[in-house]
């Protein structure tokens, strides 16, 4: 099996980008990644594009083919990979397979979402809610934030956890985002302000949720044996996992357990021959603050019920025992759906290359992601290491 290296990354600013359309975002991130990779000949075998809502929000299909043409990569094979908000993780996974198979040497992965031009209230939430179960959830008005509220309440009651422990994650991630020039929000917030922000789905409040963002992220992958030709500090993808769970959330034995994450992170750890204790830095999918809590447990950092306390106690801060979301996470970096899974891995690349500036985690050698699709019914986990 060929080993796979990341040799270049590209990341647009995330936020409200009025002068960019979906294809612009894919192109900007891709061209940055290609330039960063020093692969001057652009001899790509394949391109994988991740985007959740191109049809609905942008009235576009065939975006992978369009990208390949616009950045001059014809005749590279091009596919659009969809797995809801975990589309980026899935795109990386399939690029990883393409290279490990030995059939592709050089692959571009690019993800983007263009969302902020949609201003009708509720329409973004409705578009994302197409991923819930139609008969059991959606027609009854269930949206992802409402499931986030339900999970927050269940967790608080089951583990007797005060809301401020959970919401402290928003404060941490905003603080980290301060030092990320690509972040949607680059300002600190106070716990008091977050706890008193408007209710979205009780007890979930505005500052417990990620924003709607535009943005693009891209990376160049190649076989590890070629990597040093292009890049002094390639980062290896050594573990990849993906698992599904019930579509209908109420069918799960325990709402506060993300079985798909337990399974897929174990796949990634096993492939890389690592355990949670080996991880120096993680990028988790904090679309809602409660998700970072639960994910930090199910990915193996904390026992069930102890994630919120750990965050409140600073264990997941930069400088803490296991820094989570030094990028600012979805909460502060922003959440352009199709870009998020790629941006998570890019942050780890920068951390492992010691290129993360003021948000650097010291001596980070190994990192892992959780990219969360649906409401936890399709999760991708990617483990990266210094070469």
């Amino acid at each position: 099996m060929n080993k796979v290296a990341i040799i270049g990354v590209g990341h647009t600013k995330f936020g409200k980008l009025e002068d960019k359309n979906l294809l612009d975002l894919l192109c900007d991130a891709s061209l940055q990644a290609i330039e960063n990779s020093n692969t001057n000949d652009k001899d790509f075998d394949a391109v994988y594009v991740s985007c959740m809502l191109a049809e609905t929000l942008n009235h576009m299909t065939g975006i992978a083919s369009a990208l390949v043409d616009r950045i001059g990569l014809i005749p590279a094979a091009a596919d659009h990979i969809k797995n809801g908000p975990a589309s980026g993780g899935s795109a990386i996974k399939n690029a990883f397979y393409a290279i490990t198979s030995g059939l592709c040497d050089m692959v571009l992965v690019a993800g983007a979402e263009k969302m902020t031009h949609i201003t009708t209230p509720g329409s973004i939430t409705s578009a994302i809610a197409t991923i819930t179960h139609h008969n059991a959830e959606r027609i009854h008005g269930i949206s992802l934030p409402s499931l986030g509220g339900l999970l927050t309440r269940s967790y608080m009651e089951k583990y007797n956890v005060p809301k401020e422990w959970i919401t402290s994650i928003a404060v941490k991630n905003h603080k980290n985002g301060m030092n990320n020039p690509n972040a949607h929000f680059q300002k600190e917030i106070t716990l008091e302000k977050a706890l008193n922000s408007p209710i979205i789905a009780d007890p979930l409040r505005l500052y417990d949720t990620c924003p709607v963002s535009d943005g693009g992220a891209a990376m160049v992958l190649c076989s590890a044996e070629m990597a040093k030709r292009f890049c002094d500090t390639p980062i290896l993808i050594t573990g990849v996992g993906q698992a599904t769970d019930t579509h209908i959330v109420y069918e799960r034995e325990d709402l506060t357990v993300l079985k798909a994450l337990q399974i897929c992170s174990k796949q990634a750890y096993n492939m890389a021959k690592k355990t949670p204790i080996d991880i120096d830095v993680a990028e988790l999918h904090d679309a809602f603050t409660i998700l970072e809590v639960v994910e930090s447990e199910d990915i193996g950092f904390f026992k069930k019920g102890e994630g919120a306390k750990a965050a409140f106690d600073g264990i997941t801060q930069i400088g803490g025992k296991i820094p989570i979301n030094p990028s600012g996470g979805l909460k502060a970096r922003g959440h352009p759906l199709g870009a998020t899974g790629i941006a998570q891995v890019i942050e780890l690349v920068w951390q492992l290359q010691n290129e993360a500036g003021k948000r650097q985690v010291q001596n980070a050698q190994t990192g892992i992601t959780c990219n969360f699709g649906g409401f936890g019914n399709n999760i991708v986990s990617i483990l990266v290491e210094r070469m």
Copy 2:
């Protein structure tokens, strides 16, 4: 590199299926394929789903995760692969990579489209036209049938070909569809009737175009070394190719040449160590009659300009030198977009297993497909052989 075998296939009726929704079609085809494969334990590593317009026509995202849950394959990894009308080919390609990488042993590929419930005139054509170039084509009213008309006229003029040679393909494919119980249309048509059918985009007429269909198709793939455990007559995928071309059709040097097909079919031939002369049967993407003509040339069966005459002379009939679309093709089997690329390979499986009934091509040992995305800007070609 692991070799890849097809050990089970499933294919719903194609046509106007009023009592089935998109997920029903995916499930029906998948359960058939799983049953056909004798993999009783359902121990699947991954599921790939192809569908072009789930968001627009069916208001669904996360269809791969939904399928996995509904047919009991949790926690299998699940991704939705999009490449316009070539989504099925792309899904098979990515499943092929997953197995050749050695990281997956057993993979389900399922494709479907549910279209006929949309009855507003032009809305299906508009939805599909989202794959054309927005600024250069779409805003000027260009749709896929209009490009089909342009290609037909260009070909007729360049090669001095009468329309009846091209339209004879519709007659052939309807005749083949007569013997395909899954076909949308199972009735013969006359050349005279086809030539006098209503104009769609001059000189393209109604009977030169495929219908709008509902339908699903699925297959189970596994590593070749496992295949004989499940199936007496597994079929090997020995060649896979995919290539892109310009998004804007007018930017191509010659409208009548499908460069992407020339490239991707060559990739498939080279991988399988075959040439066009080795092919016993082909399933090409006759969304318009002219496409079968041009594809039959660019996939290497005929010189440029000779494909229409060859079809008119019966060379591509069952019993001819190189039978094309014994299934009835998109014209008669129908064209549920996301299912088509999978249905093409399934027809070849049946032909190679000598299971094609009245439409059997005698002693078929090797077959190839052309699955055409966009207007030829992203084409997938898959070559299969008896084991």
